[in-house]
Symmetry: C2
Subunit: 230 residues, 2 copies
Amino acid sequence: MAIKLYDLRLKGDRRPSPFCWRAKFALAHTGLAWTEVPIGFTDKAALAFAQSTLVPVIDDGGTPVKDSWQIALHLEATRPERPLFKSTQARAFAEFASGWTDQTVHPGLFPLLVADLYDKVEDKDRAYFLETRGKRFPGRTFDEVQRTARESAIPAFRASLHPARRALGTGVYLCGEHPGWADYALASALLWCRAVSSFKPLAEDDALVPWFERMLDLYDSMGRRAPATS
Amino acid sequence: MAIKLYDLRLKGDRRPSPFCWRAKFALAHTGLAWTEVPIGFTDKAALAFAQSTLVPVIDDGGTPVKDSWQIALHLEATRPERPLFKSTQARAFAEFASGWTDQTVHPGLFPLLVADLYDKVEDKDRAYFLETRGKRFPGRTFDEVQRTARESAIPAFRASLHPARRALGTGVYLCGEHPGWADYALASALLWCRAVSSFKPLAEDDALVPWFERMLDLYDSMGRRAPATS
């Protein structure tokens, strides 16, 4: 029985959630097939079977698993033939890269795309998005937040990607010869942006640009085939 | 012939340089003996043989190598029997962790210890330190920078260590079962502070506290035996 992945959907079948992208990369890495159940921000009832209110959630033949990292650990435990981590050091790197992406990349990128994201939210979910995300920017509209960020915050955001640039070095992936969790975490953040905005978070001459192109090509061009905003 | 390591020395034989600590961990990891040549900030002539003006520099039987990362790569290439990295993924993690430590940990920690550090600088080097480090805080004394940082910047500094805390998880080292470069890079930053200041960068209940104790114990308690300020 194929795994079911509950995924966030916006207008035009856009799939923005970076955490859902991490789950998709984990599934693809492990060589698994899955079907997607697209839901809106407010379709919380669909996730109740997994005691969750947030995507991603998977239903693995009757076993519910919530949270992208827990999904990765579940796949690692149940499909050891194509391990995501291979060694305790690789798993530690994965944790490190997740922590860095959550703490540095997402907060840096969100203000740069928030108005474009809001614009793509389904009508029925707009009040929810405004209420939950608006709190992060008290007294400011999403348009104002995004405009200000693009005027002043791009250099700092790009500079903040320095650890990823160092990991890439002259190599192919952030994890070395083969793609791994650090690649999936950062590519998922960039796919979040790509789904909703024509904004280019990377400078043209950034070594991460050809890397991201490779990430878009991975797994039968899973990322490239996803609806984008250009 | 034992490797010679040129190391920065302050009053009381304190050894603060986090980059020299990285080099020492790399040497110890590789199972090598070395002798130290302690120098002051202004003893640039001692490093000329390696075309460097900064420590660490090693003299490996006539081969000069400068820069802690280049020293690590040199040891990896010339002593493959005790590899620092083992795999391209482990090396990518090492690069990532170096980049993160340089970009996040050092700039966060420096204002918290700068006055204590300046206080330990040898008299002959104080003008150099004031000139080169003072530029980072225009119009402010080191005392003022440090006092303000300790009043307001401790929570943000501690929060910034989130990726390391995630990598540690419930494990023993940031690199998993065995200590590796990510451990060495962060421990070196904390040893920088320990050498010159009684300030505690970590909260008492931080999971990184027992980890740092383990790091102080490593390699015949190399870190713990170093002159500290308490």
